[in-house]
Symmetry: C2
Subunit: 455 residues, 2 copies
């Protein structure tokens, strides 16, 4: 009897051809002119999943782009159920953005498939579909399969939370697997077990009722750009910590054992230095660089603008100044609570010479995944079987709001099973996906299903 | 025999018609498509000055737009010589900017001529030309006349300094009169006897080599927007004074007698409040509002920009941040010395986690005019004769670089003899010039020439 792994190896070339067909559909979710392509990509994927052997496959409309949902529940009620998440939508891409070839005509160079969506996330989601196909076509998979591939990840997943809440029963699973991230190096698998949350706000400082002539009024009006700068300058302590009262109240401290484990996966200072190019690092001295990013919250100025900033000089005394400010959060910080703390502090720091307005723009929960649970153990074994090397554990600095949604709404552990590599160039020109990673991903996913079932 | 004043009254309607013809020429100095109109305006003015009775009138080319220069030296070497300065170029204007009528087709409403350049500066310069005409056509003027009307004031007078330096002998005068400003109220003439200088620079703070993902790197990189804000926040002391070491070293203190005199022309707090709309004033508490503007230097943030500041949210950690910073200077501050002091301070305040660059963009000297000299006395008498009320003295907050050029290059006292009114809307839509001010201006100029000559 052919094993799933043998099936996957025997069909490797066809899998790649199919991935190329999938990549040719320009499913750019943010582009209204691509609505037809979005539908086409969803239908294409649904048909592929039907051929793979899923028993129920639907393209389900939402308020935005449709969700593709496929099920196979043949393992029975006693077997575990795995919910796999991915997305079929991609970032915009055009040749003139710096691509060396048409972003929607995949080409292979040096063992990599170059195309928009190759790593983010069509390639990774498709690896999961092909793992299911290998199991379905070679006999009964050891677990029940539920695949949820959405079409709005690149525009902030506006409708999936509601979709999950409305379909709680149907989506119920013992573990959720998300393949939409990267591992450290091709020879060293890694698992992100935490992501940071987000509170994004804007602060507007208003002074005079209109822009003034800096000669006619300079000296009696508190310049809003200056006032904004004076407020911003009070948001951090000299040690790099955030100076907002109560900001750290709900932060889970890093345990010593965890710090030691994280040390194993820590990137070198030299790598950080060459990636950032900064003359000197900054931040909380009590924490290593990777800890500051993975386990500590931040308050960041994402941008600001006021008055005149073009070429040359204009002697304006601006009427207002705007700053975009975001906090990356760690468990158990609540996004809305942090917004309130920061807002109150900003208003407190505003002198009576100007007025301030603070507006909440976005929020997302942080998430920590249990590294000692059985799901994580299965993932670890699966990676080790796929790679020949056990994975290291990392804390991510970015935000994946969907994790907290799955945790909260389905009450299930979540595993980030990334098949991408740092350097794939997601969102940029010449995005690519390692062919080796694609195939290793398929085998690792098969191993994971087998491990979870205890097969 | 007809006096100059009678002549001016008898020809008032014609003077206005001629001014309208002058205003119809769209002499927008910044617009390359208006180069022909610039030449046409210069020629039109030169011809009018020839008809007025100037003996030598030339349209003199410069590296930019031409200078119109007219002379009448018939008063003889023993009589004083007055150099009159104005400009025939105007700011851009288009109906769609909010004009109620074509900016280059003058219309009269409520005793005002609405047209671009009506007050700034064609109307004021032309009042001076018509004063000369009245004196020239009614007999010998009591002073020698030199009229210098340039065509580049609205683009920063880039070539006039060199022109004056090259024509020092020819332009030599006992007093320079500039009619390119405004008086307080139509019933209360006023004379600005000081203007502030300017040092304009930009500060660029650079952190990472490119924009970073705030999730992937936030916490280890000193955010350049934050660093810029932290630098800016250190540029003022809590009392509103500028915190740059040495900044005030060359500032001439206000004498008590001068403070008392200035008090007479001081605008009420209510006016300042309604003009600015600020919730509370700001600045050096030891100085009255009009003193902070007229007699104290400032350091102003004219604008800044960094990262993302559009609608919505983008989680970028910006690579750099830029601020435009300008200082208004008072005598005897040197623009270049102030640049060096501010630059050195900015570099000193820059932490080792980022890099800073400081670039000088513009500079202009402050100027103080002698309020006790004979020229100022003549101007005061002239205003009193023209208005029936003696003028009050004011310090202006703005910058007129040409004053210091005249003072330095010609070593002559300068008088700002403004015929405009606050509220004329110079540079904005619906710029206008009071017909009463036009005629009062002509008579005041005649009185001034007579006073200077002791007639």
């Amino acid at each position: 009897m052919t094993t799933a792994h043998e099936y996957a190896r025997a069909n490797a070339a066809r899998f790649r051809e199919q991935l190329n067909d999938f990549l040719r559909i320009p499913s750019v979710s943010t582009d209204p002119e691509r609505t037809g392509d979005m539908q086409r990509a969803a239908e294409w994927l649904a048909n592929d999943m039907r051929r793979a052997g899923f028993t129920t496959v639907e393209v389900i409309p939402t308020a935005g782009h449709p969700v593709v949902y496929g099920e196979w529940l043949g393992a029975g009620a006693a077997a575990p159920t795995v919910l796999v998440y991915g997305h079929y939508d991609v970032q915009p891409a055009a040749l003139e953005d710096g691509w060396d070839s048409d972003p929607f005509e995949p080409v292979v160079r040096n063992g990599r498939i170059y195309a928009r969506g190759s790593t983010d996330d069509k390639g990774q989601a498709f690896a999961q579909v092909k793992a299911a196909e290998a199991l379905l076509q070679t006999g009964q998979p050891p677990v029940n399969l539920k695949y949820l591939i959405e079409g709005e990840e690149e525009i902030g997943t506006p409708n999936l939370g509601a979709f999950i809440a409305e379909n709680r029963e149907r989506l119920r699973a013992d573990v959720v697997v998300i393949s939409d991230s990267s591992i450290k190096e091709i020879d060293q698998p890694s698992i992100h077990y935490s992501t940071r949350g987000l509170t994004y706000l804007e602060l507007e400082v208003m002074g005079p009722k209109q822009d003034l002539h800096s000669g006619g009024y300079g000296g009696i009006v508190h310049n809003p750009a200056q006032a904004l700068a004076e407020i911003i300058a009070q948001l951090h302590n000299p040690d790099g910590s955030v100076a907002v009262p109560g900001f750290y109240d709900d932060v889970l401290p890093l345990k010593d054992v965890e710090r030691k484990a994280l040390q194993k996966s820590a990137k070198s200072e030299d790598s950080w230095r060459s990636e950032t190019g900064v003359p000197q690092f900054w931040g909380e001295a009590d924490y290593a660089l990777h800890e500051r990013i993975g386990a500590r919250p931040t308050l960041e100025i994402n941008g600001f603008a006021s008055g005149f900033y073009g070429a040359g000089s204009k002697t304006v005394l601006p009427a207002k100044a705007l700053a975009k400010i975001s906090c990356r959060l760690v468990s158990n910080q609540e996004p809305l609570r942090i917004f309130e703390l920061v807002r109150d502090h900003l208003l407190r720091l505003t002198p009576p010479t100007v007025r301030s307005e603070v507006r909440l723009l976005a929020q997302a929960y942080p998430a920590v995944m249990d590294i000692e649970g059985s799901a994580m153990h299965a993932a670890s074994v699966a990676y080790e079987k796929g790679w020949g090397t056990p994975p290291v554990y990392e804390r991510g600095g970015g935000t994946l709001p969907i994790i907290a949604d799955f945790q909260r709404l389905l009450n299930a552990p979540v595993i980030l099973m990334g098949f991408g590599l740092m350097g794939d160039g997601a969102h940029g020109p010449n995005e690519s996906f390692s062919i080796e990673m694609f195939h290793k991903g398929i085998h690792t996913a098969i191993h994971f299903f087998q491990e979870i079932a205890g097969v």
